[in-house]
């Protein structure tokens, strides 16, 4: 059996993200750059949520693993390690390694407990950052993180930062896409009926643990991208309440394909910026949209577009 590494939805998601490289040709607006940067960080984080959602698991741990990825890079920067490839690998691998023992333990538990564990994890991470000022700078964080260097070029300008964030989002999408394509049937079986999948001989917890580890790595990339954008690793960037935003991006975007987190993040980050300085009101919009999606439009934005498309054609 030949397993496709990428389907059309993954390719579409990658192409959509690649548009980020074209934007600087048309505009130099700081606002546009900032919104796009936020969106690229958000897409990666939402994809981390989405991986687990493929197996009917809702994760609140994204900020915790983002923090691990982000602080890894910030701390390495203090030792003048800024190589792009090295840092990307570290931002993915360190959180993934932390997730290995956690995943093996936690994922033998049923769905509701998983939600609670991830919620507790992000609270713990928050407290840990404050309690370890020697390593993380405590409540001050680590500021003045050195810009990343790609093939010896310092990615210091606004435009280069944006392009780098775009590239990271594509890397994360590629990883997420390949994982969920390769194990498509396994994940689908777990989502459909975990007990049945187990009784048919699928070692369910192993796939869940694998998903958890990769999701942690992907979240680490999001943390890296965030730190790289702000040039600061600060505890407020990884506040446990931001988990709700990433969950909202994913659910509202749609859980059926990878286009969901991409479109959901794009739409919601854009909408949030329409609120201007009153960004906190956007949460109300997220809330209403979550209610609507869960009650009326299970496919979210991506699913609704797909349904409309099918009706037209």
């Amino acid at each position: 059996m030949r397993i496709k590494l990428l389907g059309w939805t993954e390719v579409a998601a990658l192409l959509l993200l690649a548009c980020g490289f074209v934007v600087p040709v048309f505009t130099r607006s700081v606002l546009v750059y900032s919104v796009l940067n936020q969106a690229f960080v958000g897409v990666i984080a939402a994809e981390s949520v989405w991986i687990m959602l493929r197996m009917n698991l809702l994760s609140f741990a994204t900020p915790a693993f983002m923090a691990i990825g982000g602080y890894t890079v910030a701390i390495a920067g203090q030792y003048n390690i800024t190589d792009a490839f090295l840092m990307t690998a570290a931002a993915f691998l360190v959180p993934a390694l932390v997730a290995v023992p956690l995943g093996a333990l936690v994922l033998r538990l049923r769905g509701t407990y998983f939600v609670l564990v991830t919620f507790v994890l992000s609270q713990i991470m928050q407290l840990l950052i404050f309690e370890t000022p020697g390593l993380t700078g405590g409540s001050n964080g680590i500021s003045g993180v050195a810009a990343v260097t790609l093939f010896g070029t310092e990615m210091g300008t606004n435009r280069l930062v944006l392009e780098y964030a775009c590239g990271l989002a594509m890397v994360a999408t590629l990883i997420t896409g390949v994982l969920t394509r390769y194990f498509r049937q396994h994940f689908a079986a777990i989502e459909e009926n975990e007990i049945l999948a187990e009784s048919l001989g699928l070692v369910v917890w192993r796939y869940k643990a694998l998903g958890f580890v990769v999701a942690a790595g992907v979240a680490g990339l999001a943390g890296y991208s965030l730190v790289n954008m702000l040039l600061t690793a600060h505890p407020s960037s990884f506040d446990s309440s931001t988990a709700v935003d990433f969950i909202a991006y994913t659910i509202i975007g749609g859980r059926l394909s990878i286009l969901g987190p991409v479109l959901g993040t794009g739409a919601l980050v854009y909408a949030t910026n329409l609120f201007g300085t009153h960004g906190q009101y956007a949460q109300g919009l997220y809330g209403v949209l979550i209610l609507v999606v869960v009650l009326a439009a299970r496919g979210g934005i991506a699913g609704t577009i797909a349904a409309l498309w099918r009706r037209v054609s």
Partner: protein, 288 residues
Amino acid sequence: MDQFIQAALIGISLGAQYALLALGFTLIFGILGVVNFSHGGFYMLGGYVAYSCVAFLGLPYPLAVLVAVAATAALGWVFELFLLERLVDDHLATLMLTLGLYLVISTGLLTVFGPLSMEFAFPAKGALHMGPIYVPRENLIVLAVCLAAIAALWLVLYRTDLGRGLRALADDRTVAMAQGLRPKLLFPLAFAIATGLAGLTGALVTPILSLSPGVGDPVLATSFLTVILGGLGSLEGAALAAFVVGIVEAFSSVYFGGSIGALVLFVLVLLLLVFRPTGLLGRTVRGA
């Protein structure tokens, strides 16, 4: 020694508040199988309703507390009956619905009342001096009301037909339905009782602590902590764990300061979740 007794008193009064929150949270999980992410929202709402009754309508504070309980219970009842009930068997969907409701409540309060803290003071001032020990009167009143509410909840659950029906549905929903117990009637009531308790806590506690949009977040985290320690769905466990959490929090803030106490509790809860998901009391409870 005085400091020790002082900390213990604070711990017990915190514990009573946490117990009210956690009992409601665990009731909803035990009976409906729903993890209620909007619990902190109902706490905030209770605070704001009580505040509005006092500040805008000029109602006496005790009456304002009752209005807050009625309002939060009513909203809980409506939310369960019209939204949650449709998807009550889908763990993930109900969780997302309560999360959505929380975002709507907190943004609604932000829109109406603005981001700043309200001037909402507890009407009873002063303190009791028992030798060297000093206890604020407001804490004593809150403690007394909380304990009375816990006793009332216990009476409802263990001494009435309604309580028997609710516990039967929590133990075995299928058999309970076959006995003629109607979830469509009882689930909204259970949810209303729980959200009413959260509203009561909010109305009582926010004048002492603070009232601003966002005070619901730590409430949710504490409720989580408590019900996991006590074993999801276990009422006795939740009540016991609430006092453990309250006392640990009080002592660690008096003796260590900072967030060490919270960190220790969270790590303990994580270990418990992983190795002993039935909680401290270790009773077998509803499969999560």
